[in-house]
Symmetry: C2
Subunit: 224 residues, 2 copies
Amino acid sequence: MLRGGTFNLLVGGPKANWPADFAENIVGPWIGVDRGTLRLIDNNVQPVAAIGDFDSLAAPELQRVRRNVKDIRQSQPEKDFTDTQMAVSVAFNDYAAERVDIYGATGGRIDHFLANLFLVLEPQFKAYASQIRLIDKQNTISFYLPGHYTLEKEPDKNYLAFIPLTPIDHLSLINEKYQLHNEPIPYPISFASNEFVGKTGEFQFDTGLLCVIQSCDTYEARHE
Amino acid sequence: MLRGGTFNLLVGGPKANWPADFAENIVGPWIGVDRGTLRLIDNNVQPVAAIGDFDSLAAPELQRVRRNVKDIRQSQPEKDFTDTQMAVSVAFNDYAAERVDIYGATGGRIDHFLANLFLVLEPQFKAYASQIRLIDKQNTISFYLPGHYTLEKEPDKNYLAFIPLTPIDHLSLINEKYQLHNEPIPYPISFASNEFVGKTGEFQFDTGLLCVIQSCDTYEARHE
């Protein structure tokens, strides 16, 4: 059984928001979440595990899931934990994942996206916050607990955003284009469209949880 | 000069997430935010006002904006307020809007989306929270300050989500499929995939700010 390293999750958001050629370009084992499992199989990826109630799958689709995935965890349609939460737990607890990258989390239903964005605020996941990312074709979303950090710029991303998801004390953006110095942040806010100066950006804060997004515009955003 | 009623804003998110035929189907005056202004004109909508730095527009594009819009507020590219914030202020303060519906807020850069989602938490906009909505083809996002409410189901939406954006006291979901009773909510969380039982849903809470989303799956989400 595969253990350690980065595990990738595919959840149910629209294909249009996936990174290009993600099935070929992204290394590491995949876990399918509900219909995401079928989409992985359709993209010639054999998931190591699948989590979901699978109640939206037709019988032949469910057959394909059963033939292609060894470790299937069938959840109840009405339950206290979402399939994505279960999949994140399985990755960290059963597969000893060091990082979990979640794809398919954006672009469709906003209640689903926000459930994934706010997942790291829940007590059972908070300790894993810095090991969880949400990734789509324009955005890499990461999470930080209090501390001092040096972040590396992703080559294809131009914009950098700092987004306290809780009140935060003493937020400092040290060497970015727009800086802050020991700022108290009383409520969630998106400090969007900041930029790296050079290849890295330093920041620090004392309490709460900070979301950081590296993003780029698409051709369509500039020209459509 | 038009005053009162609902004002619609078009901001810069991808067309793919706009409601179908929105330019024909949505009544009321439009305000364009930056490149959104040009997109309105391209869809045969004459905006009553336009807000933006317009620095991404080519000279002939800027000409078209100038020819088509009487009330143009040119913002500075590096400023303390976003163009969307300025547009919301203009709608409420200068046009006496009773409601502001924001389109084009989803689907692209997540830092932009979250800036729009969290806008109602800022002191200058909080009092307007219940008059602001974000709307795309799958989601109607509304905001509530403490109180007791009866919400009407939108005919084309199946799902209902309750999303405290701050800590909230005594959250009760009174007659929805999944109920809560005087629940204390300590951090932002998305209670997704709830449903109406009948045509209305009652809820109440004592402190903080609650986001409510009515949403639907797309054909693609179920079958692609």
